[in-house]
Every structure is written in structure tokens, then in C-alpha cells.
């Protein structure tokens, strides 16, 4: 359950950036090969956010599919696993997308 620790990081980063203001939404980008389960993040978020500026905020997780480039033939293809080879047979692949673990945006509530 390293998702709990990761969620703590997310909340800490957003709190620091929000600087006391109320946060209504946090948008994440989580690659399908990042090693992090989106469901587990959502589960932990509610608990970790409680009694902070993020209490009750919506967690919007955008999952990013794997996309790889074959270093042998140059083809690019959707990589749904980390062990499927390229159509040419090579396993020497560069993962272009799918390892993201990022906070994209936060939405702040403002009372002016």
C-alpha cells in the first residue's frame, strides 16, 4: 500500500501550493505503468485530505495508457503491458507514455 505514502505526498504538495486556500479539485495524471493504482489513490485521498484545505475536494485521476517506441525498428505502438514485444519481435523498447505520476492542476475556491 505505497499509495498511502504517495497520497500523503500529493496532499502535501497541493497544500503547500494552495497556501491556506480551500481546494475544490485536484487533477492527477497517473500512467498505467507508474506502479500506482488509481483506485487505491482515490481510496486514500479522502482520508488523507480530511481536516485540511483539501477536505471534500474532488480527485480527478486521468489515467495515461502505455505507449512505446521500438528501439529496433522505430515503430510506435500502444503498450498495455511491460512485457509484450514489438510486432517486429524486439523487446528493446522505450516507454514514451505510461509512467506519469503528476499533479496537473488544482482548483481553488476564492471568496473575493
Amino acid at each position: 500500500m505505497h499509495e498511502l505514502g504517495i497520497t500523503c505526498n500529493i496532499v502535501a504538495i497541493v497544500r503547500e501550493a494552495a497556501n491556506g486556500r480551500k481546494v475544490s479539485r485536484v487533477t492527477l495524471e497517473v500512467g498505467r505503468h507508474s506502479g500506482i493504482m488509481a483506485d487505491a489513490l482515490a481510496f486514500c485521498f479522502e482520508v488523507v485530505a480530511r481536516h485540511t484545505e483539501l477536505d471534500g475536494a474532488t480527485l480527478d485521476i486521468r489515467e495515461v495508457d502505455g505507449h512505446a517506441r521500438c528501439l529496433a525498428c522505430g515503430a510506435e505502438f500502444a503498450a498495455s503491458t511491460l512485457y509484450e514485444p514489438c510486432a517486429c519481435g524486439s523487446r528493446r523498447l522505450l516507454l514514451l507514455k505510461g509512467e506519469e505520476l503528476k499533479i496537473k492542476t488544482m482548483e481553488l475556491e476564492e471568496v473575493d
Binding site: 505526498n9 504538495i13 503547500e16 476564492e110
Partner: protein
């Protein structure tokens, strides 16, 4: 669990220097740890090697320089000026953060890596399931090589100093880290421990991670390579089940091969599975108990020690 944000205040993470007997509670982000408090919120995506530079250059400027408010742009300046008391309404604004969640750990790992390189120290991060034989491999390695190579050990376990004591008895300086409920070591723990351990120039620092094939794959410690230990009493399909770890490792040590006659384990299948997720992985079948195959492991260590590892280009620590 996590000390970064204070949510894990009850965590019992601590370090024990087995040379001096000094026991210290570990607090992430404590004043005496290497301070990198601001880099993560700016999160300049890309090469973490640059994170620190950006961090310090932009420190404390985020309120002004990093907000891009979408939608209703007419409210951009309100919160900063704070000068419209008669004009009260609830509004929302979207702030782009583009912050890599592990940026703080990665920046510290980069610092550790630079420190190891500066002292020509080969740092290896040993990972495996619990019970694969990491500590036994280290004990044997220390006994066989201590006259020839300078070996230092960081022992990571959730609790007890038992492994640290075994390493100390084998004859290497060791600092035990107890992570409490934590399931992996993080770069700040290693940075803290290095000050206790004080490894010498041209030495090898073996970092024995918490037995776990999942989380340690995500946390760069600043090591030159991850070494994954798989034992023949485990399933030969583990590389496919835990692809992140086997993909992140440069070397797979296949341990307990003395037990092969007694277990259903196909070495060729295991090797093939490991190469499916990592075609460049080096595979060394050994028995830490009988010593079979250890010459190849020792040869691997000798070839990389004394600063020679830094001559090999490493691209394993890039992150999307």
C-alpha cells in the same frame, strides 16, 4: 507511513549505528536533513537532475509566477491584491502545478548519486521478496571479499536490528534503518544514514532494501543499480508478476540454486521471463549458502568498483 507531510508522525522510523550503538529517530524533512522544501511544487517536468537548480531559483515565487487561471481571467489579480472587499462572491480558479509527485525523493536521490560519484563509491540497491536471501548473500560476500574490497552496508527492515547484527558479525560497517510501518527505503533515509556510515573512497555501499518487490521499484535512492534477488523457492513467473522491479534492475541474482533438485523451478523460464521485461538484465545463478556461482557475482562487483561504474552510461533513472 509517509513522513513527508507529517501524516506519519507516529511512524517509528529510526536508524541504529551498529559501530557506535547510537540510536536516532528518523524524521523526514528534519532541520538537519538536506533541505529541499520547495522543488516539488514547481515540478519542472523532465530531468530530475535539474530539479534542484530550478527549485532554488524559483523559491518563494510560486504565488506570482506559476498561476495560470483558466476560464474567468478577470479574477486573476484579486487574491493577490486583496483589495475588493465590497465585491464578494465564490469563484474557483484552476492553478497549473505540473508537479511530479516523487520529485522530492528524486531530487534527493540525485544528490546521493552525485555524492557517491564524487567519492568513487559503487552503490547498489538490493531488492527482493522477503526471504529471498539478500542478507545471506551479503554476509557471504563480506566474508569472502572483506580483505579485498571495502564494503559498507545499509540495512533496511521494518523492525529489529537482527540483519544489521548479522552483517556486523560478518565484518562490515553497517547502519540499520527501521522503517516502522514503511514498506521501502527513501532517498532522504539513505542521505541521513550515509552521514552515520561514512563510507570510504572507492568502497561499495550495499543498500539492502525492505523485502518487497513493489514499492522499492518506485523510489530511487541514488544507487548506481538495483540488484534484484530471486530465489528458486519462489515462482519462476515473478518477473512478469512484478515487472516494474525487474525492469528497473540491472542484475538479477538467482539464489538458492542448491535447492533446484528439490523444487519445481525452471531456471530457463525464469531467465526468459526476466528478459521479457528487461532484455538487458544480467542474470547470475548462485547459491549464497554453498558458494556456487559466487565468482561471477564477485567478478561483477570488482568490475564496477573503484569508480568504474560511472564510466557506464545509465539511463534507468529517467522518469516520464
Amino acid at each position: 507511513m509517509c513522513g513527508h507531510c507529517g501524516c506519519g508522525k507516529t511512524t517509528a522510523a529510526s536508524i541504529l549505528n551498529l559501530q557506535t550503538g547510537t540510536h536516532t529517530a528518523l524524521e523526514h524533512g528534519a532541520p538537519d536533513s538536506i533541505p529541499h522544501h520547495h522543488e516539488h511544487q514547481h515540478g519542472h517536468a523532465g530531468h530530475h537532475g535539474h530539479a534542484e537548480t530550478h527549485a532554488h531559483r524559483h523559491e518563494h515565487q510560486h504565488e506570482h509566477s506559476h498561476q495560470h487561471i483558466h476560464g474567468d481571467t478577470s479574477h486573476v489579480g484579486h487574491e493577490l491584491e486583496n483589495s475588493h472587499p465590497e465585491h464578494r462572491h465564490l469563484d474557483t480558479s484552476v492553478v497549473e502545478l505540473e508537479a511530479r509527485i516523487l520529485a522530492k525523493n528524486d531530487a534527493l536521490a540525485t544528490k546521493n548519486r552525485a555524492w557517491f560519484a564524487q567519492w568513487d563509491i559503487l552503490a547498489l540497491n538490493l531488492v527482493s521478496s522477503p526471504g529471498a536471501g539478500k542478507t545471506t548473500l551479503l554476509e557471504r560476500t563480506i566474508r569472502d571479499l572483506k580483505a579485498e574490497l571495502k564494503l559498507f552496508v545499509v540495512e533496511g527492515d521494518q523492525s529489529t536490528a537482527r540483519d544489521g547484527q548479522r552483517i556486523r558479525a560478518a565484518g562490515a560497517p553497517v547502519v540499520q534503518v527501521n522503517t516502522g510501518t514503511g514498506c521501502h527505503l527513501e532517498a532522504d533515509m539513505v542521505a541521513r544514514v550515509l552521514r552515520e556510515l561514512n563510507p570510504s573512497r572507492n568502497s561499495i555501499v550495499m543498500i539492502e532494501n525492505v523485502g518487497n518487490l513493489v514499492c522499492p521499484a518506485l523510489f530511487d535512492l541514488g544507487e548506481w543499480a538495483k540488484v534484484v534477488v530471486l530465489s528458486v523457492t519462489e515462482g519462476e513467473d515473478k518477473p512478469l508478476k512484478y515487472p516494474h522491479m525487474f525492469r528497473a534492475a540491472r542484475l538479477m541474482v538467482l539464489n538458492k540454486i542448491d535447492l533446484l533438485p528439490h523444487v519445481e523451478f525452471d531456471t530457463e523460464h525464469a531467465a526468459s521471463h526476466a528478459r521479457q521485461v528487461n532484455p538487458d538484465i544480467v542474470i547470475l545463478p548462485i547459491s549464497a549458502r554453498t558458494g556456487q556461482g559466487l565468482d561471477a557475482w564477485y567478478g561483477w562487483l570488482r568490475a564496477l568498483s573503484g569508480g568504474r561504474a560511472s564510466l557506464i552510461v545509465d539511463n534507468r533513472h529517467r522518469r516520464a
